[in-house]
């Protein structure tokens, strides 16, 4: 895919976000299983419903913008998943495992927010309808809220 226009870039970023969210659906389950404390387990397990809703919104955006439903992998997400795999297999201390789970979750939310910021900017530049922008903003707001919960845990710790 060669990128020549803002519309091409919007499509590419939307595909990346879609791919990332499908991986995140898994990631949250894995982080919940890997976490030691009930608090952190619930934090990630409870995020699943949000992610399912976010994926549905992204699928709606593909439809609203007449773009084919396609996903595109990103080395950033692949790197994050590899990092998660590494910590799952090597961290033995419960406390450190919780800290690692939060660390991975925090990076993940920041990636999501960065992708969404770029998409919102492009959607506004391209004059996409409000229904598109509002869905992106809703996803961003949920990612921001999840990030704050994770940061609150780190501060309380």
């Amino acid at each position: 895919m060669s990128i020549r226009t803002e519309a091409d870039m919007f499509e590419r970023e939307l595909q990346k976000l879609y791919h990332a969210e499908l991986e995140i659906l898994d990631l949250n389950g894995d982080l919940s299983e890997a976490a030691a404390s009930e608090e952190i387990q619930e934090l990630f397990a409870g995020h699943r419903e949000d992610t399912v809703a976010q994926i549905t919104r992204i699928e709606e955006i593909f439809e609203l913008t007449d773009l084919p439903l396609e996903e595109r992998g990103s080395p950033i997400m692949e790197g994050l998943l590899a990092e998660k795999d590494e910590f799952v297999s090597e961290v033995e201390s419960d406390e450190l495992r919780d800290l690692d789970a939060i660390g991975i979750g925090t990076i993940n939310e920041r990636i999501e927010i960065t992708l969404l910021d770029r998409l919102i900017l492009l959607a506004e530049t391209l004059d996409h309808p409000e229904s598109v922008v509002s869905r992106l903003e809703q996803n961003r707001s949920e990612a921001e809220s999840a990030l704050q919960k994770m940061q609150a845990y780190r501060r309380a710790d």
């Binding site: 791919h19 499908l22 659906l25 898994d26 994926i55 549905t56 996903e71 590899a82 795999d85 090597e90």
Partner: protein
């Protein structure tokens, strides 16, 4: 299997392929599609990388990579990977078409051509001129069900057929091991 960094497959791919992980619930269909597609792309791209490895990997690096084949204490997992890599390629390039006369139609299959060209390329690397590569496979069709039927009927089954049966899912490996142990111990 979880600590293989920078491999062709990710840990998630391995867990999914071996059945350790499954996708359920909403969006599971898309997750499975994405996993399959990502694996397909990674395997395809890895195969393309073999040309770079064969042509450009420094001799010293190549030797380090394969030195365990020379060791007395060989790396069984590495050897199994090499064997299965070759089997994966040959099988998918149609080697079984050439194994049986009724399927071969006397023409060279893609697997045979690739094997011949690979031997030729390896020879050239060491300045060996390959005059001819003859691939000879002596094989018969041996479906597991028919071997089981022969056993049931009390007919003779060849050692190769027994071996095939042992490697199949039709036989409980632990039970077979116990039987063989008894046989070997009794024989002593």
């Amino acid at each position: 299997m979880t600590d293989r960094k920078n491999a062709m497959l990710t840990t998630e791919d391995r867990r999914w392929l071996t059945g350790e992980k499954s996708y359920e619930g909403e969006h599971a269909k898309q997750q499975r599609y994405q996993r399959r597609r990502d694996i397909r792309k990674r395997v395809h791209n890895t195969i393309l990388d073999f040309t770079i490895l064969f042509e450009h990997l420094e001799d010293a690096e190549r030797e380090k990579l394969f030195e365990c084949l020379e060791d007395d204490e060989s790396d069984d997992e590495f050897e199994a990977g090499l064997r299965d890599g070759l089997a994966f390629i040959l099988y998918n390039a149609g080697i079984t078409e050439t194994m049986l006369e009724e399927c071969s139609h006397g023409t060279e299959s893609t697997a045979e051509r690739l094997l011949r060209e690979a031997v030729d390329a390896a020879g050239k690397r060491d300045e060996i001129l390959i005059e001819d590569v003859a691939i000879s496979i002596d094989a018969t069709r041996a479906p597991i069900a028919s071997i089981v039927a022969e056993l049931k009927a009390g007919n003779e089954v060849s050692p190769a057929e027994l071996c095939l049966l042992l490697e199949s899912e039709a036989v409980d490996t632990d039970a077979a091991r116990d039987c063989l142990r008894e046989l070997v111990v009794d024989a002593e």
